[in-house]
């Protein structure tokens, strides 16, 4: 990662996610966004670094905390924001909302609000690619809470048994909603669980975008080359509450403050400044560009339309309601 423009690009991607999420929080308070809203603030380095490592023909499956993944994968902020609003112009036509972002163009298959529910799908994606001899990779994100689900174990076993081209990407932010990892897992070594299925597994500093990218790129190329599935554990932290309804009774403010010192964006800004490839003026210009994009996204969502009620049952089945 030497090219200055690329590194500034990584910063810009993380900034887009951060500002988008901050705007979502604001819009939630204003009643523009309803339902559950799970913010990615603090974890931006993971989605940013991973998406840089994938090709357009690869498939992505994400969780309900997936706005950052959607933006980093290249779904326009306009379409994502319109989805937050539930507008017809949203990337899922407004039917999914915050937790269910879909986009065929970028091969983004959700947005899954069942913890662990995407993992068996990912095995199936890999199976299809393997059977059709396509050199594609499927990137499946999930949180550390998912490792307690049976579907985690079933999917990892299938993927390893059949040597499927799947990347299992665990975003370990230490809390499954409010339950800390040691309070839910007899063995908190997540990589060890993956290795028990005979797949390579590696912990990665999820607060360092370049570390994420380096580790993911290597894993992607090995998986694409036919080496079977791999597991990466990104150690990260969510700075905000689980959702907008969470009073955060389960963790100390001190702990949050300690992690904030490792903010992936502030840390990267400092690094780029120290390397002499970013100054205050450039950062301000980046921020201004991002602010403009977010403002345009909000304007797009505001101007969007509501799907006509007559279309309520459209697309339940291909031929209409059944």
């Amino acid at each position: 990662m030497n090219d200055a423009a690329d590194r500034v690009g990584l910063l810009r991607e993380m900034l887009r996610i951060r500002r988008f999420e901050e705007k979502c929080a604001e819009l939630y308070s204003a009643g523009k966004i309803r339902g559950f809203l799970h913010l990615y603030i603090g974890e931006e380095a993971v989605a940013t670094g991973v998406m840089q490592s994938l090709l357009p023909e690869d498939a992505v499956l994400a969780t309900y905390r997936e706005h950052g993944h959607a933006l980093a994968r290249g779904i326009p902020a306009t379409a994502v924001m319109a989805e937050m609003y539930g507008k017809y112009e949203g990337c899922s036509r407004g039917r999914g909302g915050s937790m269910h972002i879909f986009d065929a163009r970028t091969r983004f298959y959700g947005g899954n609000a069942i913890v662990g529910g995407g993992l068996p799908l990912a095995a199936g994606f890999g199976l299809a690619d393997r059977m059709m001899r396509r050199p594609r990779v499927t990137a499946c994100f999930f949180g550390e809470g998912a490792v307690a689900e049976g579907e985690f174990h079933e999917a990892l076993n299938l993927a390893s048994l059949w040597q499927l081209p799947v990347l299992f990407l665990c975003e370990n932010n230490l809390y499954a909603m409010g339950t800390a990892l040691p309070r839910s897992e007899a063995n908190t070594d997540l990589c060890e669980k993956a290795r028990s299925y005979r797949m390579p597994a590696q912990p990665v500093d999820g607060m360092d975008v370049e570390a994420v990218m380096a580790a993911t790129k290597r894993a992607v190329s090995e998986v694409r080359a036919g080496g079977g599935p791999q597991f990466l554990e990104y150690r990260t932290y969510r700075f905000r509450a689980h959702s907008m309804f969470d009073p955060e009774l389960y963790r100390d403010k001190q702990e949050v403050e300690e992690w904030k010192k490792r903010c992936p964006i502030a840390g990267y800004v400092a690094r780029l400044e120290a390397a002499g490839i970013l100054d205050g003026q450039q950062l301000a210009a980046l921020e201004a560009g991002v602010a403009k994009e977010i403002a345009a996204a909000v304007a797009y969502a505001e101007a969007g339309s509501w799907e006509p009620v007559e279309q309520l049952t459209r697309d339940v089945c291909a031929a209409g309601a059944a």
């Binding site: 990337c91 269910h100 879909f102 069942i114 068996p120 199976l127 059709m132 048994l161």
Partner: protein
């Protein structure tokens, strides 16, 4: 037209196998996956021989991970394949309910029409083999509750042979419920039998006195009951629903408009059953066609027990269907 009247002697099991073989041969995107479908030859020997013919890639044994491999089938379907996933019995499919209901059934609508899931899931259903309460239930009515999936219940050799390919060509998820008592059903099948429609109910026997509505494993018993009624001079019309979702109500209501009396035979438990749904729709759409209350012959509301006499008593039988029909006919307008 030569050959159009030629038939072959076959069984429901062999007809299902022929459908699988045909599908695997027709399209490279088709593959079969499930517990013991390969080396074992299928729990009910439906897929026997297919491993040797099509190889391990396409006739794929899975671990005992219902959620895992049903979900993998859904994922493969999203990614361009036409998977056939076999679940050993519908009781086991409850372990995969998350994948079927939360993923397969929702993705098209929730994605705003961007993604479809052309997976076919086959499973055995029904009682009658003394397998007790964890292998004998009938959950097709449950699944029929869920929008976004199509539910098929082949009850004849033609449908065993013909429904699979049409289901695979459906761009949405389809679940095929095979009543396990039907696997040994033997009869004549047209030599050139192939794909059939999966939209319409079928009138299996014509009559004017009353309408008997049923599906799946209860079709044979209902036809036998119609024979008994015929001996008494009563001409019962028998409707085989074939597809439980979406329901072909026009065929049911056309018959009712002729007979004005109806008995529904459904092996599922009565409360909240498919029979309840049909009854409700008759009330909504054809109340004034009725000359008598609609009657039901359903599974008794118990976990299916092991001993033969109790198991028999727990599910619809010919005598009970005849009795319900006579009761319905005894109502005078």
């Amino acid at each position: 037209m030569s050959g159009s009247t030629a038939t072959v002697r076959t069984t429901y099991r062999d007809a299902l196998r022929e459908a699988l073989r045909d599908a695997l041969a027709r399209d490279e995107r088709v593959f079969l996956m499930g517990e013991d479908v390969g080396r074992y030859g299928g729990t009910y020997a439906v897929s026997k021989g297919l491993l040797a013919e099509f190889g391990e890639e396409r006739v794929r044994d899975t671990p005992l991970s219902e959620s895992g491999f049903v979900g993998a089938g859904i994922g493969a379907a999203l990614n361009g394949m036409l998977p056939i996933v076999e679940v050993m019995t519908c009781n086991f499919s409850l372990l995969a309910l998350d994948q079927i209901v939360n993923n397969a059934a929702t993705l098209r609508h929730m994605s705003g029409g961007q993604f479809g899931v052309p997976v076919v899931i086959r499973m055995a259903t029904g009682a009658g083999r003394q397998l007790a309460a964890q292998h004998s239930h009938s959950f097709e009515g449950w699944y029929a509750h869920v929008p976004g999936i199509r539910i098929l219940t082949p009850a004849t050799l033609e449908d065993a042979r013909g429904m699979l390919w049409t289901a695979l060509m459906d761009p949405d998820p389809v679940i095929i419920f095979e009543n396990a008592l039907l696997y040994n059903l033997e009869g004549e099948l047209a030599a050139g039998a192939g794909p059939v429609d999966i939209d319409k109910a079928a009138v299996r026997r014509s009559g004017e006195a009353l309408t008997l509505v049923t599906y799946g494993g209860s079709l044979g018993k209902t036809l036998a009951a119609a024979d008994v009624l015929a001996e008494q001079g009563i001409a019962a019309e028998v409707i085989d629903l074939r597809t439980l979702r979406p329901l072909d109500m026009p065929t049911v209501l056309t018959s009712l408009a002729k007979t004005h009396r109806m008995v529904i035979v459904d092996e599922g438990w009565k409360s909240g059953s498919l029979s309840a749904e049909i009854m409700a729709r008759v009330m909504e759409e054809a109340f004034y066609d009725l000359d008598a209350p609609v009657a039901r012959v359903c599974g008794v509301e118990v976990p299916i027990p092991y001993p033969k006499h109790l198991e028999d008593a727990a599910i619809p039988q010919v005598a009970g269907i005849v009795e319900a029909a006579l009761r319905t006919l005894s109502h005078h307008v």
